[in-house]
C-alpha cells in the first residue's frame, strides 16, 4: 500500500528503505520539567536504536517516563520541558527543530498512537475528514476524492467493516476498539518509518485488545515501519516486540531481547514485574510475587539506585552508587544492578516474597475450584 498519486509513487515517500536499516537512534535523552518545587527529571539517559521492521517495547510503571521519552522525540511536550541528548531519524537530528520542521516529520515519518481512543479523535469531524487531513497535510497535491479513497482503503486495512460507510461516521458513532483502529489507520496513512504506540490497548476491553494489536501488527507490516510499543502489559510485550526496554523512575534499568528479559532478567525490578504477572503455564494456586511499595517521587529520588527502597536485595552500596547500565554477556543485553550476576537463574519467588498476607486470594482460589472442568462454550 504505497502512497500513490495518479499511479506514480510520491517522491520522497517514506517507508521505502531496506529491512534492518537503522531508522531511529536515540542517545542519552534527558527530559526535565521545571516546577515550583524544583526540577522533575522525568527521563534520564535513555538510549536505544531502532531498525526498520524491528519492534521495541518500553515497559514500566506509570510515571516511569515511558510516554515522555517518545513525545520528546516528536517535540510534543509542553514548551517548558527541557530536552537534551540526541534523537536522529535516518541520521537527521530531530531535537531542537522548530514546529514547521517537526510538522514535516510528525505523521509522515514518525507517527504516534495514543492511549485513549475515546478522546483521541476530534468529536466534531468525521473520521474520514481526520484521516484525509493526515494525508493532505503532507501531500497537499492529493485531491479530496483521492484522499477519501485512500482513507477507505486504510480503514479496510485495519479491519473496520463497511469502510465506505464508516468513513463518514463521527467518532461518537464508533466503539472504542473501532476508534483505536481509526487512530492506527491515521498513524499508517503516510507509510511512516516509525510508529510509536503509547499504550494502545490500555483503555480497551480485553477482547478488543487482541483485535487492535492485530490491526497494529498488520499496519506495521503493511508500511514496513519500525514500532515502539509503550505499555505496562508484559503480555503485550511478549507477543509483539523483539526488544524490550525496562524503565524505572525515568531511567532505563534493563534492555535486551524479549527472551533475555523474560528468561534471564538481571535487574530485580524486571524480575519483580515478571513475578507479578499471572501466567497460564503456572499451576493453579501459584502465588504472584508483588513488588511492594510505590515508585519514588521524581522530585526527591532516593540516593543511589532509585529502586533500592523496594528491592529485597539492596545492600549498602545501593544507597551510595547508582549503577550504570552494564553489559551482560555480549548480545547487547544490559542491566543496571550492582548484583546482576547474582540474579542468574533466579526465579521471582526466590527474590520477592509471595504475597501470603491477603486472605482473599486464598478464598478466591478455593471457591473457583468446584467449577472445573470448564466446558469449551464457557470460554
Amino acid at each position: 500500500m504505497d502512497l500513490t498519486v495518479n499511479g506514480t509513487r510520491v517522491e520522497g515517500s517514506p517507508g521505502a528503505g531496506e529491512k534492518g536499516e537503522l531508522v531511529l537512534e536515540v542517545d542519552d535523552l534527558n527530559v526535565g520539567f521545571p516546577t515550583d518545587d524544583g526540577m522533575v527529571n522525568a527521563v534520564r539517559g535513555v538510549s536505544y536504536q531502532l531498525r526498520r521492521g524491528q519492534s521495541l517495547g518500553i515497559v514500566g510503571e506509570s510515571g516511569s517516563g515511558k510516554s515522555v521519552t517518545s513525545m520528546a522525540v516528536l517535540g510534543l511536550l509542553p514548551k517548558t520541558a527541557q530536552v537534551t541528548g540526541s534523537a536522529k531519524l535516518l541520521g537527521e537530528e530531530l531535537l531542537g527543530l522548530g514546529d514547521a520542521a517537526l510538522s514535516e516529520v510528525r505523521g509522515k515519518r514518525i507517527s504516534m498512537i495514543f492511549q485513549d481512543p475515546l478522546t483521541s479523535l476530534n468529536p466534531v469531524y468525521t473520521v474520514g475528514f481526520q484521516l484525509a487531513e493526515a494525508i493532505r497535510v503532507h501531500y497537499p497535491e492529493v485531491k479530496r476524492a483521492e484522499a477519501r479513497e485512500r482513507s477507505i482503503d486504510l480503514l479496510d486495512t485495519v479491519g473496520i467493516p463497511n469502510p465506505s460507510q464508516r468513513v463518514d461516521a463521527y467518532p461518537h458513532e464508533l466503539s472504542g476498539g473501532m476508534r483505536q483502529r481509526v487512530v492506527i489507520a491515521i498513524a499508517m496513512a503516510n507509510n511512516p518509518d516509525v510508529i510509536i504506540a503509547d499504550e494502545p490497548t490500555t483503555a480497551l476491553d480485553v477482547t478488543v485488545q487482541a483485535q487492535v494489536l492485530e490491526a497494529l501488527e498488520r499496519a506495521r507490516e503493511e508500511v514496513n515501519a519500525a514500532l515502539i510499543l509503550i505499555t505496562h502489559d508484559l503480555g503485550v510485550i511478549a507477543g509483539h516486540t523483539d526488544d524490550v526496554l525496562v524503565m524505572y523512575a525515568g531511567r532505563p534499568v534493563e534492555q535486551g531481547t524479549v527472551d533475555e528479559i523474560f528468561y534471564e532478567p538481571r535487574m530485580p525490578y524486571t524480575l519483580g514485574l515478571i513475578g507479578s504477572m499471572p501466567r497460564m503455564d503456572e499451576e493453579r494456586g501459584h502465588r504472584l510475587t508483588p513488588v511492594h511499595g510505590t515508585p519514588p517521587s521524581m522530585l526527591k529520588l532516593p540516593s543511589g539506585c532509585p529502586f533500592r527502597p523496594r528491592c529485597p536485595m539492596s545492600q549498602d552500596i545501593c544507597a551510595e552508587v547508582e549503577p550504570d547500565l552494564l553489559p551482560i554477556g555480549s548480545t547487547g543485553h544490559v542491566a543496571a544492578c550492582h548484583f546482576a550476576d547474582q540474579l542468574e537463574g533466579k526465579r521471582p519467588e526466590d527474590v520477592f516474597a509471595p504475597d501470603s498476607t491477603d486472605p482473599e486470594i486464598e478464598v478466591a482460589v478455593e471457591s473457583e475450584a468446584p467449577q472445573e472442568p470448564r466446558s469449551q462454550e464457557d470460554m
Partner: protein, 341 residues
Amino acid sequence: MLVFTIRRIVMMIPVLIGASLLAFVLVSVSGDPVADQVFILEQSTGEPVPQETVDNIKERLYYDRSLPERYWLWLTGIGETNGDIGLLQGEWGPSIEGSAIDVGEEIGSRFWITLRLVLFATVASIAIAILTGVVSAVKQYSKVDYLLTFIGFLALSMPTFWFGLLMKEAAVQTNNAIGSTFFQTYRDSTRGFHGNGWEVFLDAIPYLIIPTIVLMLTGYAAMSRYQRASMLEVLNSDYVRLARAKGVRNGTVMRRHALRTALIPVATFAPLGLATAMGGSLVIERIFGWRGLGAFAYDAITHNDAFAVLGYLFISGVIVLIGILISDLMYGVLDPRIRYE
C-alpha cells in the same frame, strides 16, 4: 432542523404563558395602581376623592375584577368590549396615564431603540470575549493572560451605573479636548423613534458608541473567562495532541481543531447574554437619557403602571426565549453529536 425549530417555537408558547402568569401575579401583589392614582388626585385637589371617581379608576384599570379574571382579560381580551385590553387581540391594556400613552404603540417604537443597543452590545461582547478568552488560553500564564484576566475581573466587579457615568464623563472630556461633538452622551438619536430604516441608524451611531461599550462590559467578562477555560480544556485534550502528531501545523491545529470545539460551550451560553443585556439596558438608558424600553420600564415601575410593566416583561421574555432558541440551534450547527429529530 426546520421541524425542530418550529417545534421549539411552538413550545415557547406555554413557557411564555407560564412566565406571563408569574409576572402578572408578581406585578399585582407588588403595588396597587388604583390607590396610587387616588392618592395623586387627593394631593392635587386637596380634598377627599369621591367614591364614584375611585370606582371609575378601578373600572378603567380593570381593578374591579378578581386577579384571575384580570389575567384572563389581559391575555385574551375575551368578554370585554372596551377594546383596550387583550394581548391576543394586539391590545396591551390601559396605562395609568390614560389615553396619553398606548402601551402597545410605545413598546413598538421603543423596541427598535433598545434592540439597537442590546444587539450591538451582545454581539460585541461575544466577539471580544471569544477573542480575549482564546488569547488568554493560548498564552496561558503570560503577561497578556494576566493583563486580560485583570481587565476581566475589573469589568466583572465594576457596577454598570458607575462605569456608565465614568464613560460619560470621559466622552465629554474627549469631545472638549479634540473640539468635536462626535461622542453623544444624551438621547439615543436626534430623530428619536420617529422614522425608520438606514437613516435613523446612521444618525444613531454617535449616540450608540458609549452606551454600547458600557453595556458590553457587563456581559463580556464572565464569558471571556468561560471561553478561556473551555479553550484550555481543549488545548490539553488528546485530539489536539493527535492533530499535532499527524503533522498539522500549530496555527491550523488552533483554528481547525481547538477553536471549533472550544466554541461549543460558549456559543450555547452567549445568546443568553441577550437577557443580561436587556436587564443592563434599564440602567444604561437612564444614564444616557435614551427613550427605549429600559427607560419605559423604569418609568412604568416607578409610577406603578401595571399594564406597562407587564408589557415590558412580556417583550423581554420573548427576547430571552429567542436567545435560547438561537443557542439551541447554534449547538446543533457546531456539534455533530447533537441531532435534531
